[in-house]
């Protein structure tokens, strides 16, 4: 099984890779939520796992900017126009997993983080504190 990262490698210099959880915490073709500590304080990320796909792991904000609730990990994962997306479970807007951009309103964007497997560990890159 391949490992994958979301962001370009040049940002990796000033980030630190932290263990987020283990593979069996993930739900295939769906999402789970986790806490991380960032330079701006604690944040909630939604982790999506697409086994067998070119990019298998994605991490985006768990916070839904439209509903102002922490629910993104509980949305349905799919692909639209060839791009993996998650649909907010509350008002159903679609967010591209790759860059967090909302398809219905491109001025809205979820944050994204690079994530990858290291063996059984799920690692996330967070900008150095």
């Amino acid at each position: 099984m391949s490992t994958a990262t979301v962001l370009k490698t040049e940002t990796e210099a000033d980030v630190s890779w932290q263990t987020l959880c283990i593979k069996s915490d993930l739900v295939a073709f769906s999402g789970v939520a986790a806490w991380i500590e960032t330079a701006e304080g604690p944040a909630q990320v939604a982790l999506f796992y697409l086994p067998g796909h070119e990019t298998e792991l994605y991490a985006v904000d768990h916070h839904d900017p439209f509903a102002n609730a922490n629910v993104i990990a509980r949305g349905i994962v799919g692909d639209l126009k060839g791009q993996p997306v998650v649909a907010s479970p509350i008002y159903k807007q679609h967010f591209r997993l790759k860059d967090g951009v909302c398809l219905e309103d491109e001025s809205v964007q979820l944050r994204t983080w690079p994530v990858r497997f290291e063996g059984d560990q799920v690692m996330i890159a967070i900008e150095a504190l």
């Binding site: 959880c21 986790a34 697409l50 349905i76």
Partner: protein
Amino acid sequence: MNISHSDKQQLIVIGNGMVGHHLVEQLVERGATEAYRIIVFGEERHLAYDRVHLSEYFAGRDAESLALCASDYYAEHGIELRLSEAVTGIDRDNGEVVTDKGRYAYDRLVLATGSYPFVPPIPGNDRPNCLVYRTLEDLDAIRAAAEKATTGVVVGGGLLGLEAANALRGLNLDTAVVEFAPRLMPMQVDSEGGELLREKIESLGVQVLTERATQRIEDGGASFHRMVFQDDKVLETDLIVFSAGIRPRDELARECGLEMGERGGVVIDDHCLTSDPAILAVGEVALWNNSIFGLVGPGYQMAKAAAYTLTQGELTFRGADMSTKLKLLGVDVGSIGDAHGDRSPGARMFRYLDQIKQEYRKLVVSSDGKKLLGAMLVGDNSYYDTLMQYYSNGLELPEDPASLILPSTEGAPALGADALPETATICSCHNVTKGDVCASIDAGCTDLGAVKLETKASTGCGGCAALLKSVVDHELESRGVEVDKSICEHFAYTRQELYGIVRVEGIKTFSELIEKHGSSQTQGLGCDICKPAVASILASCFNEPITDASHIPLQDTNDTFMANMQKNGTYSVVPRVPGGEITPDKLIALGEVAKKYQLYTKITGGQRVDLFGAQLHDLPDIWQELIDAGFETGHAYGKATRTVKSCVGSTWCRYGVQDSVGMALHIENRYKGLRSPHKLKFAVSGCTRECAEAQSKDVGVIATENGWNLYVCGNGGMRPRHAELFATDLDDETLIKYIDRFLMFYIRTADRLQRTSVWRENLDGGLDYLKDVIIHDSLGIGEELESQMQEVVDRYECEWANALKDPAKLKRFRSYVNDDRPDPNIIVTEERGQLRPA
């Protein structure tokens, strides 16, 4: 330079804006390049672009994508396009136009110079960072200025002013609109409408100041500018955009002595000819019948007429409709005909105002109430298309015209595409009638895209898109052409076809279905349309637990967590209370659980109790306690059997003729857990007094002296529909047999998210057909339907009980996989002795 050709006449077009470009296209279409050598002058450096969608430049579109044609279009047709070259004079005596670069002879000349934004003569209006909103260059200047600004003011609260305000807001400026009139958009709306508009716009954080006349602009203290108003009030801002109306760019015409209107504009006749027959004018510079038309649609109509005039055609410009429908700052505004009712003596009005939903609608009708003269809409433009058809085609209004603007459960009233006459205008930008659309279909267009290409309909402002689609769909269907009804981009099938495939091939997982039958163009993940639809089909057929690993990614969040998501991300819990009958012990248990987990408690409209505010990670514990007390899941979250409402019936009631509670329990226990295209509700009443309201349910049962009457396809909710009497005086067994068949037939043939009521209304052959299938077994599938139902019934297991047995499934119910912290975003407050979201 003085070029002139012997064989061809020379045609010069001044202005390469929207209308000037449209004129060129029309000329090309009419083969005018044979007779004319055409030169076009454009002052801007860009090829003609879509000014109507100018604001999208800020949203990332560039000049190229806004361009109205490919960059080689002009060259390809042998037309000389001279951009960045303004015409500075017209020498009519010698038949020449003058630019900085030279003189060019013309035989015919067209003025398409458009208009410029009016900047009120206020001292200080020429300060830096005082800008206008008309061209791409204006937008570049605004963007540059905004980088150093934190606040912006738009002077002018009309249509373009609000568009500019939206743009400033998008550039992250604190934005205000200053309007001279007592309300916003005084041209389009009245004071009620204006007030609503103000509320809506203020709620978006844009400050609205009306009845403000700016006296002067000077150096500010905290900001770059200070605006001083008539009452000496002041407003400070870094950036000012003037949008106080437009004025025709008629300076060339004025200087060369063409006839002008009193307040500007080049006078034209129906052929778009000016007072000099060698010269024509089109677009916003032209004054026809004393009117300037500040919209692109009328400009295009002039361009077409002018092209005919130049090629000896027989088409004239006879004025144009100024009706508009816009979305400004996300607010719908529509204005049709004489929207104010002040141009039509004797006119009468209907008005509808909803201050909660912030909607306002007004109709202006003729004194006999038969014709629509005008209309005004604020807040919801879905009423526009139908009203526009009544207005523009002079259709006779319905008996009660108010029904056209009153809110209805069916949404805005629609005039069916077939009700429109052939002459009905579908697209006013390109003047395309229903007849034109039909002709394009007869000429071989077989889908919406082809019709758009052929007729240009819906390629202007886009306001007619929905209407065009419905006309095209209707016309294609009536010609027997298949209209694409695929449920989404992942499957080229309808729900009904997918159901058939699943049944026939015995497919049990989504991945198998998409692998074998999905579209190859996608990544094979499905989407939030097809996944829940397929999940529902699989459950209706095989009734495997929806929390099984292969089914869980398909479910909406409610099904995933077997609870209903609330607006703050918490969930509600609704245990099943069959027939609404509950023991005191169970009631107490409900109360105890609610108390322990601090859940808000409410009796539902479905005769059971809803517990609100549970956090994801508490759901398993809550359910363990409920199951220990004898409860089962109530499927309040699923498109599934909900409740069977009952009245107390013959056991207690002095009128009851059958045991309605007993039958309700029997029905609820039989169909609980049944998933279907939409939710299913039932009720059983003990006599004709109908205390259980069975005639509003998908399946209603009413006791008679001799047994049961069965009603089907009722609905409460958004669009109430009375259930229809289906069969009378049935014994218990036949009653269940008919319900089995009825439900399975619905599940087999309904569309996704189609309640039985809507399904029934779309069923060819109606109730009689349904009776034939269910009662007389005309399709010979009665037994099959019954046995399919029996399979589902036999497989029933409470989903919550199933999940609680399986640690792997329970892992899913963690709010966070790496931390036990609760969600800090969930904040509650106390009201009437219970907690609710703050």
